[in-house]
Amino acid sequence: MGAARGELPERLLDQGATDFERRLLDAAAKDGPSQEQILRMAKALGVSAVGGAAATGVAAGTPSAGAAKAAVATGKAAAWPWIVGGVIGVSIVGALVVGGRRRDSLPDVHPGGRLEAPAVAPPPSGTAPSSPAPTVRPSAGDTVIDRIDRIPGRTSSKRPSPANVSVRDLHGEIEILDVARAAIAERAGRQALALVHRYEEVYPAGTFLPEASAIEVEALMQLGRDDEARKLAKRFVAEHEGSLLSDRVATIAGLPAR
């Protein structure tokens, strides 16, 4: 044992354990809640759950790349005190996986452990942005539409092609949908709907089109346009069957459970 105060030897799993000891300790380190329990906890907290195998790895603080990530379910208001009313909390990481499909051609979005706006990883080599991601500074009297209009390079006349998706585009997409979710939270369905339509106009091949559709369903329900909401929800569920996002959309629109 190390002579210095508090110095500990290598962990048995790293050095010195017999095969049998390693087997016991390794199993104990990997023991954890069932997948069902994990998803239940995640849903209650309003977060996305990584696949079970990754989540029960040795607690060294490094979740391994695991199975496909599940889209988030709605969180309870109690777990998220800043949010009033039902808010669709969509994980930025989870948003890159839609119905199990992962868009590997796009850069990962990992917020990391920093207390700052969600960071966006550098784009793949060869697609470095020509300028830093835009920062939209609100000014007095701004409406949210004004704020979105000031996102550089994003006007109603420009239609980006999917091949040119960049970090800047992702930042812009996230910005719009964040404000749309804020509108939902404030029960400003009309504003939310306008933002979703603006998003779809500016980003016709946007990364977060499914999330935008989910917000649209909720906005329509808030405005009392239930029939339209349910029609959109049914189409969404059919197109994204099996995804947790489709479950959430179905719940919001009051569709029968599958």
């Binding site: 017999t18 906890m41 995640a42 977060v47 701004d142 964040d178």
Partner: protein, 190 residues
């Protein structure tokens, strides 16, 4: 309405940042918290419920939790929660006949049964020592983290770990021999 919306949107963006952090620490540490509660004697479902409550508490205290110190905070919260639930002492049910249970546990999935075996071995270790052993050998906490969590001197962590290891290895060795004699070892120690 515009400025209200902008302020609200700003607040929501901050909320989104915290939500992202909560998601990260949940995915990194929920198993650790669950195990800590199981070691306090909670059944699997009850441990999941208490794990959820632990993270709900953490969500309300995110500003107070230093980045990188989330795990220690969560374990401390979980242990306090277990205490408030009346689970004051560490425990797996102490089995009068460890051998019998060692045999029957081989019927379950191998990993889960090995985890149960490990728990049975740890149940034979002095409770004042096993906590240090678990936090270091299984959960990977550092010596200062363990000292702070258990409110013991830094030097005590090392001495307790040494003694815990001796006991753990002795019990594990006996168990291994027992399983080999019964032909239920499955794998041989080299």
């Amino acid at each position: 309405m515009g400025s209200t919306m902008t302020v609200s949107a700003g607040r929501l963006l901050v909320g989104e940042i915290d939500r992202v952090r909560l998601e990260r620490i949940f995915n990194e540490h929920h198993a650790t918290v669950w195990r800590a509660l199981r070691r306090r004697g909670l059944a699997a479902d009850a441990a999941a419920d208490a794990t959820q409550e632990t993270f709900l508490l953490a969500a309300q205290r995110l500003d107070d939790i230093r980045v990188g110190s989330e795990r220690a905070f969560l374990i401390a919260t979980a242990l306090r929660m277990a205490y408030s639930l009346g689970r004051k002492t560490v425990r797996w049910a102490l089995d009068a006949d460890m051998d019998q249970h060692a045999s029957s546990s081989r019927d379950a999935s191998e990993t889960r049964s090995d985890a149960q075996l490990c728990n049975q071995v740890l149940a034979q270790v002095d409770p004042s020592l096993s906590e240090v052993f678990v936090l270091y050998e299984i959960e990977g906490l550092t010596s200062p983290e363990i000292a702070e969590l258990l409110e013991i001197p830094l030097g005590s962590v090392a001495s307790r770990l040494r003694r815990a290891r001796e006991q753990f290895r002795e019990v594990a060795s006996r168990l291994e021999l027992k399983l080999e004699r019964e032909g239920k070892h499955g794998r041989r120690a080299r």
